[in-house]
Symmetry: C2
Subunit: 138 residues, 2 copies
Amino acid sequence: MTAIPWLTQLQENGYRLTEARRAVVETVQGSTHALTPLQVFDLARKKYPALGLVSVYRTLEKLEELHLIQRVHQPSGCQAFISAGSGHQHLLLCQNCGKVEFFEGDDLEVLTEAIARRTGYQIKEHWLQLFGLCQNCQ
Amino acid sequence: MTAIPWLTQLQENGYRLTEARRAVVETVQGSTHALTPLQVFDLARKKYPALGLVSVYRTLEKLEELHLIQRVHQPSGCQAFISAGSGHQHLLLCQNCGKVEFFEGDDLEVLTEAIARRTGYQIKEHWLQLFGLCQNCQ
DNA sequence: TTGTTATTGAAAATCAATTTCAATTAGAGA
DNA sequence: TCTCTAATTGAAATTGATTTTCAATAACAA
């Protein structure tokens, strides 16, 4: 989990490596919590004080486009991002501190097939997300 | 599925019954599709042309507070609302037209318990949502 | 019918996100 | 290493959704 792979991916896709991008990438990649653009801005400015908020938005946009990060939907809002787990992953979020755990192993085919049959929908995708309290916040 | 129950609930909670509220309530309650505030505004103005957009926001806020409607989260955005199914319900959304079906019968306890054990999280809540194409849109 | 108080729509304000723009800088080629 | 050019930058302006303010209106209890 070093900062190199994401920067390399950006570079391989024709984007230049700048201080602003490095600061944003290192901040998001190193985080176990979902972060809003503003939170990324505040954290990344500690590494690179000249950083502008606009560059945060622009970098997050590119990281999302490359599927390196994903948007996190919560009752409290849908602006936060977390690194995209590899493969088909779901999220478990701490309602208190925002800490994120990934999990796979959902077996929803039986359910989705039954619902497809009943409703006549052609089911393409599913979202499964758990909320709770992490060990620290209980 | 008449418009009376929601209006009654509003009244019982100390809110007055006005033309603006009636128009918004009838629009949202009668819809099988998730609607954004702007869509509600456009539809409800056909019933009550003097309606202001602000009253749409204010009425939706009250309906959400009384758990009569719920916000719908989608990859394309999270501004739309649909009536809240009774009991523990999940959503199946048409990716094309936004039509919504409700379903229950998810049996995620085995999964959530396993994840709780592995992660140490105390799991409180889950979101399960399916996306696909409804019969009309296939 | 009257009085009070919640509710209204319009306009202004707010907030997050996007666009514009001139200055800067990464990095390819000399 | 130096030069050039196009991508990138941060600041400021703009946008679009939502919220707040406010004086006028209307619901509804007495």
